[in-house]
């Protein structure tokens, strides 16, 4: 967490400052606090860095423009999830139409540049990340989202239920099925 986000104890403080003074500092803090989360949602839906980045930017612009409407008793991440998922779905729809007319095939793009791994490790991780993201993309949307929100973002089932509009029981089943599929697929890849 960077120094800017450390200036605030929680989201409510950021929202209060932004709504009272339209503070640029608060806007930056909000983006930095949730950028990974928002980007990962967009990336899961779109599978491409450029598109995911565009949608993440749009999601934050929309969120900041409407932040005064946000009811602070609910979780801002749930709200951000709804905004991002809707934008990503719309983007995907537009892209499908464009691809249909231009006969373009969707490009998969998973690059990982890191200085902390050896070139061989980097390659292995890159390959694994590529395969994992492809695999994630193959899962039904509800299973993929449940898995990502629970496994990567650590949401409770109740919170995910608010985001996806599915019962807690249904989410638990989705989560188990997603984990099972990922395990089987990766086991198959390793053999």
């Amino acid at each position: 967490m960077d120094t800017l986000t450390l200036l605030y104890d929680n989201d409510s403080e950021i929202i209060a400052e932004y709504c009272s003074s339209n503070s640029q500092r608060a806007a930056n803090a909000l983006v930095r606090r949730h950028q990974k989360f928002v980007y990962s949602i967009a990336f899961r839906f779109l599978g491409q860095h450029e598109d995911a980045e565009d949608v993440a930017q749009e999601a934050f612009i929309k969120a900041l423009d409407n932040l005064y409407r946000f009811k602070s008793e609910s979780n801002i991440r749930t709200w951000l999830y709804t905004i991002t998922a809707n934008l990503a779905k719309n983007h995907l729809r537009k892209k499908k139409i464009i691809n249909f007319f231009t006969m373009n095939s969707e490009r998969e793009d998973f690059e990982l540049n890191s200085n902390s791994f050896s070139p061989l490790q980097e390659l292995e991780i890159k390959e694994f990340t590529e395969n994992f993201n492809k695999l994630l993309g193959k899962l039904p949307q509800k299973q993929r989202e449940t898995f990502a929100l629970r496994y990567f973002d650590g949401f409770t089932y109740e919170e995910i239920s608010d985001m996806l509009g599915t019962s807690v029981g249904g989410l638990k089943a989705n989560y188990y099925q997603a984990v099972q599929k990922i395990t089987k697929e990766i086991t198959g890849l390793k053999k």
Binding site: Y39, E53, F132, A173, Y176, V179, I182, T183
Partner: protein
């Protein structure tokens, strides 16, 4: 608490808890329930080990690092995009709203000027909106009568207006005399004359519109008719 821990749960319920158990995300009570029930479903032990082994490599992916790299300047990009949009909005106002406002103002001023050109008059006690502008009236009334138009303004006296109205009617009758001729029994004759390529066409027209005709004009007319060729 203990009673709950030693409660047997179904395989389906065990599946619901399995992933969270493998990733150590169960609450303390859920964890105890799951471990107690594992003895009834020993096949799940293998599945748990498999999940843990696979997901340890997923954890190695270092998703956080991956996302950090992808989003490192997202806040800067969001800011610049917002700034650009704000600027575009302002430019949009200057580009469209201002010109439209100016055009509307010009249209209003021109409209006002045009409206002021229309003549209003009063006959008796009733106000009337004139059909003609001052210029149109000037066309209808001959030059020497132009001064009468000045009477047909709102500030004119009632007597003057009445006089002007009478004069206008009289002049209208004179102006349509030429047209009346076309509609008379001489229509056919008139058409034949109009078709001729006569140099004296003006003379013929002048002659036809006048009730009295000089001997000289009459002779010229006869001559012209003799020279006329008809289709």
């Amino acid at each position: 608490m203990n009673k709950e821990v030693y409660k047997k749960i179904s395989l389906e319920e065990m599946h619901d808890l399995l992933s969270d158990y493998a990733f150590e995300r169960l609450s303390e009570s859920e964890d105890k329930i799951f471990e107690y029930n594992l003895q009834f479903y020993p096949e799940l032990n293998e599945e748990i080990e498999e999940v843990r082994a696979i997901f340890s490599s997923i954890d190695q992916m270092d998703m956080d690092k991956f996302l950090s790299e992808r989003t490192k300047d997202l806040s800067v990009k969001v800011n610049s995009k917002r700034e650009k949009r704000r600027y575009k909005k302002q430019i949009g106002l200057k580009r469209f709203v201002l010109p439209i406002a100016i055009m509307m103002l010009i249209a209003f001023i021109v409209g006002e000027y045009k409206l002021s050109d229309v003549v209003d008059y009063v006959i008796g006690n009733k106000p009337h909106s004139a059909v003609f502008t001052q210029k149109e009236m000037a066309i209808l009334i001959s030059d020497e009568e132009n001064d009468l138009i000045n009477f047909i303004h709102p500030n004119s006296q009632t007597e003057d207006l009445a006089l002007a109205f009478d004069k206008t009617t009289e002049l209208d009758e004179l102006a349509y005399e030429y047209i009346d001729l076309e509609e008379t029994e001489n229509m056919e004759y008139f058409d034949l004359l109009m078709q001729s390529n006569s140099a004296n066409k003006n003379l013929i027209e002048r002659t036809l519109t006048k009730s009295d005709i000089s001997e000289n004009d009459f002779q010229n007319l006869i001559k012209e008719l003799g020279n006329a060729s008809f289709n």
